[in-house]
Symmetry: C2
Subunit: 125 residues, 2 copies
């Protein structure tokens, strides 16, 4: 059992953000007698998953869609699978782009270093 700020600390997000995720129906924690939010381990696990999806550019709207399907029960299994497979493809595209750009940057960086080294030879301090 965790309070909102405990969860926030554990995940490195702000309590504000967690309330926002609740408003967006992405994580809906329980409440105690005072009306305060109570997060359980399953919420924590789900939030870690959500954060991974977010870090890989899945928009909040799609994460909510997945959460909704999950709450709808077993008959949405294939829909959820499709959603995950779509995101997997998106990730693979991102990997492609990132690797290509990394290579390009590495080349550019090498060229800059060459240039700087050449300048230091010509005008020693």
């Amino acid at each position: 059992m965790y309070t909102i700020s405990e969860i926030a600390d554990l995940l490195g997000v702000s309590p504000h953000t967690l309330r926002y995720y609740e408003k967006e129906k992405i994580v809906v924690p329980d409440r105690d007698a005072n009306g305060n939010r109570v997060y359980r381990n399953e919420h924590l696990t789900w939030l870690r998953f959500v954060i991974k999806l977010k870090q890989t550019q899945m928009p909040i709207a799609k994460i909510r869609k997945y959460a909704e399907l999950y709450l709808e029960g077993e008959h949405t299994t294939t829909a959820r699978l499709a959603l995950l497979e779509e995101h997997q493809r998106a990730i693979q595209e991102q990997l492609h782009t990132l690797m290509a750009t990394e290579k390009m940057l590495a080349d550019k960086i090498a060229a800059y270093k060459q240039y700087i080294a050449r300048m230091q030879n010509k005008q020693p301090t």
Copy 2:
């Protein structure tokens, strides 16, 4: 020599976006006698680079910073190098996250498929 819409088509962005990039001082094309924008090959090359940076999550503000340094001349070489190296590190972190998430998704997808296959065995149509 290209018009704004030719460049837009070549890059898959809208003319609006190109004007926005100009307002942000990221690409400042020439003008013809009528005051219309004229892009040359060097603008195209630079824009392709900008788009790669954007696709790998470099914020517009940093891209503009790099462009400014470039226009300031040779004495900003080390600053530009530092900027590129910083982004290279950011890319490497993204690669890490993406690969980890891809693995996680692949596992989850496999589990879903197993589950679906099991259901089809139990309740054949």
